[in-house]
């Protein structure tokens, strides 16, 4: 093993999770010394973000994408790798003075074909001239070589009609006020997914009946998606599309999208579907989890995969691991967590943000725990 060339060693190390890599540092001097690209870690604590100020767009391969709107209504996007304590501030957008930016969504994903990270920004704008809502999409590419873009570029696909019809993805549907769960995009297997956070009842109450019925049939049962490789927006039907889910959320199950639904027919179970085929919109039913005894069924969230094929679930401030083989729930003690703290599945990686060439962007190294 110690006879391998540096290239081979790096290839092997790139296949290992962050925790394993850190352990390799202790094996011998050479491995401790090996290329700093893999080794520079000092992750005692993950920097704390004030979520009121910074909004989490999405997370992908151990990198988190945040955005912030300043008091002067200037939007900034940040990438953070907590395992490396690196933060990258992306260059500002071209200021379009003629438009008022109503809201913005950011999402980070990975294009597997080109090995590039892409930050997608969807802006809901109201152009001063027309006063009519429209949407613009911009992309910022981060590649390891010279492929990093110099600035945000506008996406050519004409999506305004799709987005303005689907603008409810912009409303923060925080369900019962416990979690900011619906704000994020979920990245899984090369695609970003957003949920339509608007509830069915609200659709009935607001607007006239025909309009809401139309909306419901066409859009309510859909997810809003962006394919990183094709750079294409789409709507994808929910699993079991005729079925009415009282509430639902999305989760990344190791590269596969999971749809967690609370059925209105059966309140004692939550059902988890996985999207097996993106193009064919093929879902398969994976888990049916009995949550009897939990008073507020729609406050139960699937956080993500847990060890040995289990799933980690959260109800308010408590966590349980679900074992699909035995259908049992085991309490997990995670201390010092406020009910309002966002919890999500995260796989540490040692991808260095500073390998990306970003013009005008700022590179910051987090020295202390908060910033």
């Amino acid at each position: 093993m110690d006879r391998f060339s540096r290239d081979i060693i790096q290839l092997i190390f790139s296949k290992l999770p962050a925790k394993n890599l850190v352990k390799l540092r202790c094996v011998c001097k050479r491995w401790n010394r090996e290329d700093n690209r893999f080794w520079e870690i000092g992750c005692h604590d993950i920097p704390e973000f004030n979520l009121d100020e910074y909004k989490l767009g999405s997370s992908c391969n151990g990198i988190l994408c945040f955005s912030r709107e300043t008091r002067d209504h200037i939007w900034m996007a940040y990438l953070l790798n907590p395992c490396r304590k690196e933060i990258l501030k992306l260059p500002p957008h071209d200021l379009k003075a003629q438009s008022y930016i109503f809201n913005r969504k950011y999402g980070l994903g990975f294009d597997r074909a080109t090995s590039e990270y892409k930050v997608v920004c969807i802006s809901l704008t109201i152009p001063r001239e027309s006063g009519k809502r429209s949407a613009e999409t911009e992309i910022y590419t981060l590649g390891s070589k010279s492929s990093s873009s110099r600035s945000w570029r506008a996406l050519s696909q004409d999506i305004p009609s799709l987005i303005t019809r689907f603008e409810s993805i912009f409303y923060t549907g925080d369900g019962d006020g416990d979690h900011h769960i619906d704000e994020r995009a979920i990245y899984a297997g090369g695609v970003l997914y957003w949920v339509n956070s608007e509830k069915r009842e609200e659709l009935y109450y607001f607007g006239d009946n025909t309009e809401s019925n139309y909306f419901e049939e066409t859009y309510y049962n859909k997810l809003f998606t962006f394919h990183m490789g094709k750079e294409e927006f789409r709507l994808i039907s929910h699993p079991n599309v005729k079925h009415y889910y009282y509430s639902y959320h999305l989760v990344d199950l190791r590269g596969v999208l999971g749809f967690v639904g609370h059925s209105a027919v059966d309140l004692s179970h939550i059902k988890v579907w996985t999207l097996e085929d993106y193009d064919g919109e093929l879902w398969s039913k994976r888990y049916s989890i009995k949550i009897g005894g939990v008073p507020k069924y729609n406050a139960t969230h699937v956080i993500g995969p847990w060890e040995n094929g289990k799933l980690l679930l959260r109800y308010r401030n408590s966590f349980v691991a679900y074992n699909p083989n035995t259908h049992t729930l085991i309490n997990i003690r995670i201390p010092q967590l406020k009910p309002s703290t966002l919890a999500f599945s995260f796989t540490g990686s040692l991808v260095s943000l500073f390998c990306f060439k970003v013009e005008e962007g700022e590179k910051l190294v987090v020295e202390d725990q908060s910033f």
Partner: protein, 163 residues
């Protein structure tokens, strides 16, 4: 190892000569799965005998065996072939001892067999994944060469990984 006996349309045969003089006759389509050989064929064109002074016969044979299996399975562009390849890859790396794994990986790397290198490095990674420092040292027969206290310092600095 002799060339495949299937009598399809006349495919060009290449002669590959390993460092120990052992020669292999392989179909061009099989050998060009290796980037290095593909380059040589494209650059030199008419050359039918290719000398590979950095690989010995045993490991060249194994690399070519892998290429052949993958070339055969890829002729029909069926989705099931992915499964067949995966299953076959699993068998291929299952019982490799460390010495063979090392030489095979060096050979695959030298011949620019990207897919095979990927498969073999994954095998090595699987031998490290989830293991303790002591176990990794034992697996790869590595002795710690740290001065007293140095290892503890690294552990302390990265305590999160040892929880």
């Amino acid at each position: 190892m002799s060339s495949s006996s299937t009598t399809t349309t006349t495919t060009r045969l290449l002669m590959l000569k390993a460092s120990d003089g052992v020669t292999f006759e392989v179909e061009e389509a099989v050998a060009t799965k290796l980037g290095a050989i593909n380059n040589m064929v494209e650059e030199e064109g008419s050359e039918d005998l290719i000398c590979l002074p950095n690989v010995n016969g045993k490991f060249l044979g194994m690399v070519l065996e892998w290429c052949k299996k993958h070339a055969n399975n890829n002729t029909n562009s069926d989705k099931g072939n992915d499964e067949v390849n995966k299953w076959w890859d699993k068998e291929f790396v299952m019982d490799l001892d460390q010495n063979t794994l090392y030489h095979l990986l060096m050979a695959a790397d030298y011949l620019s067999g990207t897919e095979l290198v990927d498969l073999l490095t994954e095998k090595v990674a699987s031998m490290i994944r989830g293991k303790k420092v002591e176990e990794i040292r034992e697996t790869f027969k590595i002795k710690s060469d740290f001065l007293p206290g140095q290892e503890e310092e690294i552990r302390k600095k990265n305590s999160w990984a040892f929880e």
